[in-house]
């Protein structure tokens, strides 16, 4: 079966995110004064073959823990869904 996993990675709370701050600044100059906070993360979409959703999740967890995120500075979340044939963004 084919799965699509999304690993979303952010800087941990408490670590200053200069890029987020810069975007917040530009949004403010554009007139969006309602913005309170901006954080910028990575979204890594991985299509993979696995026996079931659990196995897919386990593999993604390992990829994220070992390679995709740096545990010192980053936190991540994993979402898995079965890939519908032909569906593609």
């Amino acid at each position: 079966m084919k799965f699509r996993g999304t690993v979303t990675i952010w800087l941990k709370e408490g670590i200053f995110d200069p890029q987020g701050a810069a975007v917040k600044g530009s949004l403010e100059t554009m007139g969006f004064r309602e913005v309170e906070k901006v954080r910028i993360g990575k979204s890594i979409v991985i299509s993979l073959e696995a026996q079931g959703v659990e196995e897919a999740g386990k593999m993604l967890e390992e990829m994220a823990g070992k390679l995709l995120a740096n545990p010192v500075t980053e936190a991540y979340r994993i979402d898995v869904e079965e890939e519908k044939a032909g569906a593609d963004r």
Partner: protein
């Protein structure tokens, strides 16, 4: 005495380090391809600057999985010298040989410029030819040199004299303006507990000859040579 400069496919300061060690400092030096697994013939290893594997995910993240890194752990165990410059520093952090991590420069830009550094600890094999507290000039060239570690880790580094180089102004003060990338406590270079692995963002190999605008960097390599010659490490 033999130095080895590791070559990852995307290293680009490998020949510069090689030149500084072999032609300027005058000791034997060889390139070490990243698939090499035997480092036994070397006394010191340089992880040079560049973009080891393109660094598309995080600087140094992919290099950690290269074969040469496996053997580097043993090399470090044995007390031999390892210096990671710029991308090499990032690789050492990712590999867990030094604590902390690198974030993007707070200016959100790549920065290539000269900086002033203070030698905070000259009792290391990499800095023994500098005066204590000496202010020196090195170039930097990186987009991610904003050193980060948890406060207790930073305190521990400070307490044990493991902050070796710090960004300072001309008179040696670690001001905000003197910090080119937002690094915690203006940290530019740190050493491991054992004292044989140094990571630094500035490039000593780019300032080893006066024609390049300064030669403060040469003493990093000469210090390493001197400490290897004196066998100080072997006897540890």
């Amino acid at each position: 005495m033999r130095f080895g400069v590791v070559v990852f496919p995307g290293s680009n300061c490998d020949t510069d380090a090689y030149h500084a060690i072999k032609d300027v400092a005058g000791v034997q030096c060889e390139h070490v391809w990243h698939t090499t697994t035997d480092l036994s013939g070397f006394d010191a290893i340089v992880l040079p600057g560049g973009f080891s594997y393109g660094d598309y995910l995080r600087c140094g993240a992919l290099a950690r999985f290269s074969p040469v890194m496996e053997s580097l752990y043993g090399f470090v165990e044995k007390g031999r010298l390892v210096i990671g410059i710029c991308n090499g520093f990032q690789v050492l952090l990712e590999a867990g040989l030094l604590p902390g991590a690198m974030l993007a420069n707070d200016v959100l830009e790549f920065r290539c410029q000269w900086v002033n550094l203070k030698v905070e600890n000259n009792k290391t094999p990499f800095t023994l030819l500098y005066d204590p507290g000496e202010v020196i000039r090195f170039p930097i060239a990186h987009g991610e040199g904003n050193y980060y570690a948890e406060p207790d880790v930073l305190d521990e580094l400070e307490r044990t004299g493991r902050v070796v180089l710090r960004y300072v102004d001309g008179s040696g003060r670690p001001t905000r303006e003197a910090n080119p990338n937002g690094a915690a406590r203006n940290i530019a270079g740190i050493i491991n507990e054992k004292g044989n692995v140094l990571g630094l963002m500035p490039h000593p190999e780019r300032c080893a000859e006066s024609i390049l605008g300064g030669e403060d960097g040469r003493r990093v390599f000469l210090s390493m040579i001197k400490s290897l010659e004196s066998g100080a490490l072997a006897s540890r």
